[in-house]
């Protein structure tokens, strides 16, 4: 269960402050898919960053699977992220100096749970699931945008996290590729029992999710 209560966040800016988030509350059960919708600048990234522990909200609570993540120390947060969280961003997700399989192995190596053989097995099964088995030893700069996002997704779930945060993963893709990617993400996440919180401004994609929140100028406008 992921629970947020009244999170607000402001940024200082040239003309006073920007209310990036204003009293946003929601909760989503484990394994569910949640879409955050809203125009550009509505606060989607800010919300996801707060959820992933990358940014601190000014007020409010965020509780991920029983843990108040903003009460953790820096080191504890890093360990929580490496064990229980996965991230996919709009672009530039992959480490350019590692091959596809080395990228996918990175979270597994950080967590030191699986041995070499198990890691190999996990990578090949993930590559098969995202349909890119033949690209295992390719460097990221040789991949297309859609392939990159599928690999980024495979990496984000390789260590079987409890939650996946995806900030507009389809923003740079054409509609068809975007649709396929989100369908793949949602079905695999269900398989792995991983919660997905995904932001997008694409109406079609929102319909694929179990739950949706609409943000407007940092406020929850779902019922408005």
């Amino acid at each position: 269960m992921i629970n947020t209560k009244n999170i607000s966040k402001t940024y200082p800016s040239g003309r006073g402050v920007v209310n990036a988030l204003c009293n946003v509350s929601f909760s989503t059960p484990k394994g569910a898919t949640l879409a955050i919708a809203g125009k550009s600048g509505s606060g989607k990234t800010t919300l996801l960053n707060c959820l992933g522990g990358l940014e601190q909200p000014d007020t409010g609570e965020i509780n991920c699977f029983g843990i108040d993540i903003h009460a953790l120390s820096k080191k504890q947060l890093s360990h929580f992220q490496r064990q229980h969280m996965g991230f996919v961003f709009q672009f530039g997700n992959l480490l350019s100096f590692l091959t596809v399989e080395e990228n996918i192995a990175f979270p597994l190596m950080l967590n030191k749970v699986l041995n070499k053989k198990e890691i190999k097995k996990r990578i090949s099964s993930l590559l098969e699931k995202v349909g890119l088995s033949e690209l295992s030893s390719v460097l990221p700069n040789e991949l297309s945008g859609g392939e990159m996002q599928r690999i980024a997704f495979a990496r984000a779930i390789s260590h079987s996290p409890k939650m996946l945060i995806a900030d507009e993963p389809t923003a740079n893709l054409d509609t068809e590729t975007a649709n396929k990617l989100v369908q793949l993400m949602f079905s695999l996440a269900k398989e792995e029992n991983c919660s997905i919180i995904l932001s997008t401004h694409d109406q079609d994609l929102i319909k694929l999710a179990d739950q949706a929140i609409y943000l407007f100028d940092g406020r929850d406008a779902t019922n408005g």
């Binding site: 960053n49 990358l54 890093s78 991230f87 530039g92 100096f97 080395e102 990175f106 950080l110």
Partner: protein, 389 residues
């Protein structure tokens, strides 16, 4: 741990261009300094070689009793022992007279080991078994004597019968530029004087790289009076100081160069890391801690340095070996210098000091170069990095 080393290595290998630039920087610094410090060693060697090689040898023996032969002094590590005897007296030619010390030498052995005979400016060096005389330019001027002149030597100021009186032919005139050698002495074959002397002097030449104190210890073991022997360090404290000074300035040069190189590495590395800051942001988001960030960056610098230093050593050593066989002629800068009296050719020499100090400093000074970018990366908020700020 191994994972971070591997990641660091992959980072370096796959960021080829930047790694190559940084590597070249370290290679050139390391190899240049290996060459420079080997050159400094070579200059030191040349000064010692010139100073001891001219006349006195590495060790000078004085008043050695005649029951000790030069074979007794030829212990292991000694290249040659030159026997010389002194006889003070007076030289007469025409109506002029000068007080001198006549030095009896073995011409063949002198040709082999010492070098003052190379300073002949007129005529030639004396030969064995003759009554030839080798005099300095200043003496020849004062006596008005030239090659071919007959000169008388006696131990008394007045030429009276009954005292030793010997006649010599001047065959050569020399000038070394060192006053002890250029005034008050002349050389003749030892055979003409030897039987009159109860003590003799030795010029002991050592083989290359032999520790002078070991030879002295050997003499002590043989119950030779150590007061009879003086090393070049005792006879030329100024030269010893000059050599220490050379070491000192070389060390400072190495340290200064590496402070500069490490500043270069720091800034190049910072640019390197700023360029790929998004990747560090991504790793951070995946749960890499600050400690691991520092660890990874230190490994990157460390590996780069190890490889670059190894290559730098190879390049530096090769360059030194080439110049070691050719020699570097510095005569233009040394011709008026008493420490380069015989030859201004310098042969760079590798030592432990010249091979290991440069790469060691490269490592020592460039590790801090990783710290500043590491702090920069771990301080920066991942959200900021990923938003592209």
């Amino acid at each position: 741990m191994l994972f971070w080393v591997k990641t660091a290595a992959l980072f370096l290998i796959r960021s080829k261009r930047t790694s190559v630039v940084l590597t070249l920087m370290v290679i050139s610094a390391v190899s240049c300094l290996i060459f420079l410090s080997s050159l400094a060693m070579g200059v030191n060697d040349a000064m010692i070689r010139n100073s001891v090689g001219l006349f006195s040898g590495h060790i000078s023996g004085y008043n050695i009793p005649s029951n000790i032969s030069n074979k007794d002094l030829s212990v292991k590590g000694v290249a040659n022992v030159l026997k010389r005897v002194q006889l003070p007296g007076f030289i007469h030619v025409k109506n002029k007279m000068e007080m001198i010390t006549l030095i009896g030498i073995d011409p063949a052995q002198e040709l082999k080991s010492s070098a003052f005979w190379k300073k002949t400016i007129k005529g030639r060096f004396i030969q064995e078994g003759t009554n030839e005389l080798f005099i300095s330019e200043s003496l020849s001027k004062r006596l008005g004597a030239v090659c071919g002149d007959i000169i008388s030597f006696s131990q008394q100021a007045r030429l009276e019968h009954g005292f030793l009186k010997k006649e010599f032919v001047v065959v050569g005139i020399y000038k070394t530029g060192i006053s002890q050698l250029d005034t008050g002495i002349s050389f003749c074959d030892i055979g003409t004087l030897e039987n009159k002397q109860s003590v003799w002097d030795a010029a002991i030449f050592l083989q290359d790289g032999v520790d002078i104190d070991m030879i002295l210890q050997e003499y002590r073991n043989k119950n030779l009076d150590h007061n009879n022997f003086k090393t070049w360090k005792q006879l030329m404290p100024d030269l010893e100081q000059l050599i220490s000074l050379n070491y000192f300035s070389m060390t400072i040069v190495i340290i200064v160069v590496f402070i500069i190189v490490s500043l270069g590495i720091t800034s190049a590395f910072s640019i390197f890391i700023l360029k790929s800051i998004r990747e560090y942001g991504i790793m951070k988001v995946m749960g890499m801690t600050s400690k691991e960030t520092v660890f990874l960056l230190c490994w990157e610098v460390f590996l780069l340095n190890i490889v670059a230093s190894a290559l730098g050593i190879i390049v530096g050593v090769l360059v030194v070996l080439i110049f070691q066989t050719i020699g570097i002629d510095l005569s233009a800068y040394t011709s008026h210098n008493q420490y380069f009296i015989v030859s201004g050719v310098v042969y760079p020499r590798l030592t432990i000091y010249s091979v290991w100090l440069p790469p060691l400093s490269a490592l020592l000074f460039s590790l801090p170069a990783a710290i500043w970018p590491a702090i920069m990366v771990s301080r920066k908020n991942a959200a900021q990095i990923l938003r592209g700020a």
